[in-house]
């Protein structure tokens, strides 16, 4: 009984992680759409600049998140 609830808890935790990753995934998708139809705020910003910002955001956020995950994974080796 106890183990069952433990398993359930673990699987729910996994779902929580997956869910948050999914949310992030949606976020990443809307980055990917680019700004072809977006006329308003960025009308005066050329696509090349928008792409450069996008790249920079990916680079900064990606490296930061990757290092954070690497840091937490690294410590798993240290019992």
């Amino acid at each position: 009984m106890k183990r069952q609830s433990q398993n359930l808890r673990v699987s729910l935790l996994r779902w929580a992680w997956l869910g948050s990753l999914l949310l992030l995934g949606i976020a990443a998708q809307s980055f990917g759409q680019g700004c072809s139809q977006c006329l308003d705020n960025t009308r005066a910003t050329p696509p090349a600049v928008q792409a450069a910002y996008r790249k920079a955001i990916y680079l900064l956020g990606g490296t930061g998140a990757a290092l954070f995950v690497a840091g937490t994974l690294l410590i798993r080796r240290e019992r």
Binding site: L12, Q37, C38, D40, N41, R43, A44
Partner: protein, 254 residues
Amino acid sequence: MHLTQAIVTGQSFWHLPVDASRHGPALDAHLLLNLWIALSLLALAHLILLAGLAFRRRASRPVHTLLLEYIPLAALTLLFAFLAARAQQLWAAQRYTGASPAAMQVEVTGMQFAWYFRYPGADAAFGETRPSLVAPGEGNPLGLDQTDRHSGDDLVTSQLVLPAGREVDLALRSQDVIHGFAVPEMRLKQNAVPGQTAHIHFTPTQPGSYAILCTQLCGLGHYRMQATMQVLPPAEFDAWLQAQEAAASKRGQP
């Protein structure tokens, strides 16, 4: 009708100012929904907190993680997802698309510590501006290049006058530092960043005069960097525009 609705939704309870733009009511509804939800969750959480403290008999430790943690969490997830989705709809409706081609064009320029508004005039095109020509003392705060064929009929004012019921496309610019263009009654805010033009569009609905505030710290005069937005009935607006243009052309050819 308006009053009762305001009481029901709590506009005055939350100190919201008058709502005078077309996209405003939807925004207000969503904002008030959020505020009421936040207030009730706040009350609920504190009730649980106090109730948990108030019980005099110690209960055995709650074990049902599923019930206590994950079910409320799932409910909150749904709630936040709903709010986020609704907010995205409104945001998309306002920002993902541009103004209609028929929208009135006005250019807004922020500088330490004033706002200037430029109407394109009869040719519907703005003349060139050059920073080197800027001379507020000589009546050319924007650095309008008079040799450009579009600049002759450009009208520069220090008050934003708009017709009610017509969509406006504002092009926000800044001459020096970042300024924030905000009109609380229009539920509108966008920073004017030097070196780039930001467009926002909206439709004022109620005639009246409203405050334009600077909402981005821009220097020692930040607190007095204000202007007035005057929304007029369409007929009055046309009369105002003609009068201004006549005055301007008289000034142009002495």
